[in-house]
């Protein structure tokens, strides 16, 4: 039996070697090379300049992840307690936006959030902007929504929320109801049942949800470019610039990527320590 299984895993191992391991090795090699192929640490010496970009990216990704968690957990929890029909419909509604291309979705947010965009026109027409001006004595003609960090976080939450809901939901929905009954039998009130039983048991789902939201958020460049206005660089932008910008410097780009990967891995490792003992708590 075991032998058969390892035979079946060959395609995936090849896939991993080709498209996961080999690229990572190449990133490492590039990060430590000069343009002529010699060994250097100079690429890392420049990292200090980019501290602000690192902190900004991690901050925004962290905020987006927290918002996703705050929205996603209750949704998953409540959904899992409904009937199968409701669950199916809710699931389709959550997945529906993902059937559309990611860039298109983000592009639509541009049209919504623009200074003269749909939302501002709506606010204008229902008198919200006038009301605001009267209350605060300002003279606005629109609310500034696009080209702010808030818009970037919004874009991250909108695009990655399903990645938080799905793992949490799939863990909660499989919880053994006997455990909940046993907890109640032993005198726990519903808050205690949630706090002492459901929450710890759903932790693996939460952890993979956090990983699946945090990692793409921290490295995004399309969202920051389109919704953030490109005035404040994020890590993704910075890396892209090394490859597609005026000064072609893949070595520096690889070094930044490597540092980012290392920080992410450390974050994930620390986080998984919290879930220690939960064997399913996998790092994706």
């Amino acid at each position: 039996m075991k032998r058969k299984l390892s035979f079946l895993s060959i395609p995936y191992v090849i896939w991993m070697a080709l498209f996961v391991v080999a690229p990572i090795i190449m990133v490492v090699i590039y990060a430590f090379s000069t343009a002529d192929g010699g060994f250097t640490l100079a690429n890392f010496a420049r990292m200090g300049t980019y501290t602000v970009v690192f902190t900004r990216s991690f901050k925004l990704a962290l905020i987006a992840t927290l918002i996703c968690l705050v929205i996603g957990y209750p949704v998953s929890y409540l959904m899992s307690r409904e009937g199968p029909r409701f669950q199916r419909i809710a699931m389709v509604l959550i997945m529906l936006p993902m059937w559309m291309n990611f860039l298109l979705r983000t592009y639509s947010w541009m049209a919504l959030l623009e200074n003269n965009g749909l939302l501002n026109q709506l606010f204008q027409n229902i008198g919200l902007i006038d009301l605001y001006n009267r209350i605060f004595g300002t003279n606005l003609t629109f609310f500034r929504m696009i080209n702010t960090q808030g818009a970037v976080v919004l874009g991250m939450v909108y695009n990655y929320l399903p990645f938080m809901i799905l793992p949490i939901y799939s863990v909660i929905v499989k919880l053994d109801h006997n455990l909940l009954e046993a907890a109640r039998d032993l005198g726990a009130n519903s808050f205690q049942v949630f706090r002492r039983v459901i929450l710890p048991l759903s932790l693996p789902g939460v952890l993979s949800g956090i990983t699946m939201v945090f990692v793409p958020s921290v490295s995004t460049f399309a969202i920051s470019k389109m919704l953030g206005g490109g005035t404040e660089l994020l890590l993704g932008d910075l890396i892209e610039q090394q490859f597609l910008g005026g000064a072609y410097n893949p070595q520096l780009g690889a070094a930044i990527s490597l540092v980012m990967m290392v920080i992410v891995v450390i974050c994930m490792w620390i986080m998984n320590r919290f879930g220690e003992g939960e064997e399913q708590a996998v790092m994706m």
């Binding site: 191992v13 391991v21 080999a22 300049t49 623009e114 965009g117 470019k225 005035t231 910008g245």
Partner: protein, 369 residues
């Protein structure tokens, strides 16, 4: 388990080894092998930069199949070529990038005997700084960089680059997300040459830009997002290329274009054949076809960029009138194909030395931090 991991790493090492050593040699040696099969030409250009009917027309006339691909920018194209990912025959880079590619020995000399339509290209677009002896290029389009503004959102006529840095327009200005063009605007505003390699001047230009950013002049840094933002009246002032302005104008008649009085950049995009090209003959057939008057008229009508083909440039107003049943606005024609007095105050970009490019990149990153 351990065994599979070891396997994977070994394999990966083997693969990266391959990638590093042998690819250039491979490219060279397989070149001549495929003469007997179907005739193909691989073209890489920019998005929305050709009347696609021309591709079918060429295929029908010659039986050569065209693989038409696009790159996002000169820099992206360069990156594709450097990594060996771009397996193209014909590319259409801009002037400064052509100079860089020639310098790095990546372009093949053309056999102009196979490109008789080259004779129709106006002398004005030959012998330019990027290819002074006319050995590598056939011009595709040309145009100017300028300020695009919404006349209902500003109460003066804009004529100077000052507008791109003026605090008066805080939050209303879109800066271009391209270090070369953005710094060119600042250099021109300060009265410097856009091809300067003087570090002090470049830094001064950067300060102008950074100061304006600090004061909140810029709503955003944009490339093609500019279309939606300007057409929708979301920003008052921006800078972009003349041909794209004409596209925006179709959707928002309040927009105006000006080549500022301090001067500007004018650019030429030209067709070149890569040294590694495997279909040189087909590539030259394609270039000859595109350089022809009819193809230039069709392209000019489709993408609104000016043609370097003297006949096409002259015939375009008549072609327009015949196609649309109304005369072409002379003002628009002059924006598309800038007249001599405007062109006289414009300069081509030259390829900058590596130190200056690095300086540009560092300053640009600093601006974003």
């Amino acid at each position: 388990m351990k065994k599979t991991v070891a396997c994977a790493i070994l394999m990966a090492l083997f693969l990266t080894g391959c990638g590093g050593n042998s690819s250039p040699a491979d490219d060279g040696s397989t070149g001549s092998g495929d003469g007997g099969g179907k005739r193909v030409v691989n073209v890489c250009s920019w998005g929305e930069y050709i009347d696609e009917d021309l591709i079918y027309q060429f295929e029908e006339e010659t039986g050569i199949k065209v693989n038409y691909q696009t790159a996002e920018s000169n820099e992206a194209l360069y990156s594709l070529l450097k990594t060996g990912a771009g397996d193209y025959d014909v590319i259409v880079p801009s002037d400064y990038m052509i100079a860089r590619l020639i310098e790095e020995d990546m372009l093949a000399e053309l056999n102009y005997d196979n490109i008789p339509n080259y004779a129709k290209i106006d002398d004005q677009y030959k012998g330019l700084s990027y290819d002074p002896e006319n050995r590598y290029t056939v011009p595709y389009t040309w145009g100017t960089l300028g300020i695009i503004y919404n006349s209902t959102m500003v109460d003066e006529e804009i004529t100077s680059w000052d507008a791109m840095f003026d605090e008066k327009y805080a939050g209303q200005v879109l800066m271009i997300r391209n270090s070369r063009d953005a710094l060119a605007a600042a250099l021109l505003d300060l009265g410097y040459d856009i091809n300067t390699t003087d570090e002090a001047q470049i830094r001064e230009a950067y300060e102008l830009l950074a100061d304006a950013k600090e004061k909140g002049v810029y709503q955003a840094f944009v490339m093609d997002e500019i279309f939606g933002k300007m057409e929708g009246g979301n920003a008052a002032i921006s800078m972009y290329y003349a041909g794209d302005y004409l596209t925006m104008l179709e959707n928002n008649p309040d927009l105006k274009f000006v080549v500022p009085e301090e001067g500007s950049n004018w650019f030429v995009d030209a067709m070149c054949v890569l040294k590694s090209a495997q279909h040189k003959e087909e590539a030259e057939a394609w270039i000859n076809f595109i350089a022809g008057t009819e193809a230039n008229l069709a392209n000019m009508d489709y993408i609104w960029y000016a043609s370097p083909n003297a006949e096409a440039l002259e015939q375009y107003p008549a072609y327009y009138e015949e196609t649309y049943g109304e005369p072409l606005d002379e003002e628009l024609y002059n924006i598309m194909a800038a007249p001599k007095d405007v062109l006289d105050r414009c300069t081509l970009y030259e390829n900058l030395p590596a130190e200056t490019l690095t300086l540009y990149n560092d300053l640009w990153t600093e601006l974003g931090i």
